[in-house]
């Protein structure tokens, strides 16, 4: 991979690990909801498959934001996200001739990008699902019966920027499953295949991630109320 030396490692949250994608494809309807067709994409794919560089650039411009955002949310680090965006598109260039249209192109590409991130994290030797997060859930992520004296619910109170910031604060393992499931729309069986964990583990990590987010968002809401 060509290292991007122009950017310093602006730190968002810290990263987590991964592996190849072998799970069953999602229903077409769900794929199209998450990845609707883009005008001009088919023609650009066909030309890029014939080796046309300008068409490949069109595809890059169509998909760079989504691929980069995916990498950034999974990794929490700008420099790494840019490196892996680069790697994902280089891999796309190598493999685009094998795209047969069995799924939406964007679904195929995003899957490739997820795989690139997961392989990168594996190479770094990081566990996909943090043992600490799995074996020793903190008290705040466990069941609660008492939410304190301020009985707020979140409904209607959080904007996307606040949620995005809270997601960045999640521990890497929680963030990975949350981004893959709730943001990207992968199913637990797919995530389990990607992360090499059980479906139950994926569900559990997602639940803990949402619980942690709830606490973060409630703190934020209460903080604003007190200000």
């Amino acid at each position: 991979m060509t290292k991007n030396t122009l950017r310093t490692a602006e730190k968002m949250p810290s990263p987590t690990p991964s592996q190849p994608l072998t799970a069953e494809p999602r229903p077409v309807q769900q794929q199209q909801r998450r990845n609707p067709p883009i005008a001009g994409e088919l023609a650009a794919i066909a030309s890029a498959q014939q080796g046309d560089g300008a068409s490949f650039e069109i595809l890059y411009n169509m998909h760079k934001r989504r691929v980069y955002s995916l990498c950034l949310r999974m990794l929490g680090n700008v420099a790494e996200a840019e490196d892996l965006t680069q790697e994902a598109f280089l891999q796309l260039h190598r493999k685009i001739a094998t795209f047969r249209g069995d799924s939406a192109f964007s679904t195929w590409l995003h899957r490739m990008a997820v795989n690139v991130v997961l392989m990168h994290l594996r190479k770094k030797g990081l566990p996909l699902v943090s043992l600490e997060e799995t074996l020793e859930p903190s008290q705040e992520d466990g069941p609660r019966k008492d939410f304190g004296t301020r009985d707020l619910t979140l409904s209607g109170s959080i904007d996307r920027v606040t949620l995005e910031r809270a997601v960045e604060e999640l521990p890497p393992g929680y963030r990975m499953v949350f981004v893959l499931h709730d943001v990207e729309g992968y199913e637990h069986n797919e995530i389990a295949g990607m992360l090499q964990c059980s479906i139950g583990n994926s569900k559990s990590q997602l639940h803990k991630a949402r619980m942690r987010l709830r606490n973060l968002l409630r703190e934020d809401t209460i903080g604003k109320g007190d200000a």
């Binding site: 493999k95 001739a97 008492d146 409904s155 987010l213």
Partner: protein, 87 residues
């Protein structure tokens, strides 16, 4: 919702332990018997459903720097023609 205290803390523990699976099922969680009497667990479920719904609306808002495309172009220029075209 009327908050008759017909549940015990153990009921809440049990319900919350099942939540990861319940969320993944097709049933409407708010119809669950425990939630008919438990205000705290109802609030919890509403919040978690709200967070999941909001997450689906998160748009890709970040763009990579122009250096990424420059680096891709440079890398492609160094690659031999052909790639994985027969794979």
């Amino acid at each position: 919702m009327t908050s008759k205290q017909t549940h015990t803390p153990r009921d809440c523990d049990e319900f919350q332990r099942k939540l990861p699976d319940l969320f993944d099922s097709d049933q409407d969680l708010l119809d669950h018997a425990h939630l008919q009497t438990c205000r705290n667990c109802s609030a919890l479920v509403r919040d978690l459903e709200y967070i999941a719904a909001q997450a689906k609306l998160l748009l890709p808002i970040h763009d990579p720097s122009p250096a990424v495309w420059d680096n891709i172009q440079n890398a492609l220029a160094k690659q031999p023609k052909g790639g994985d075209r027969n794979s």
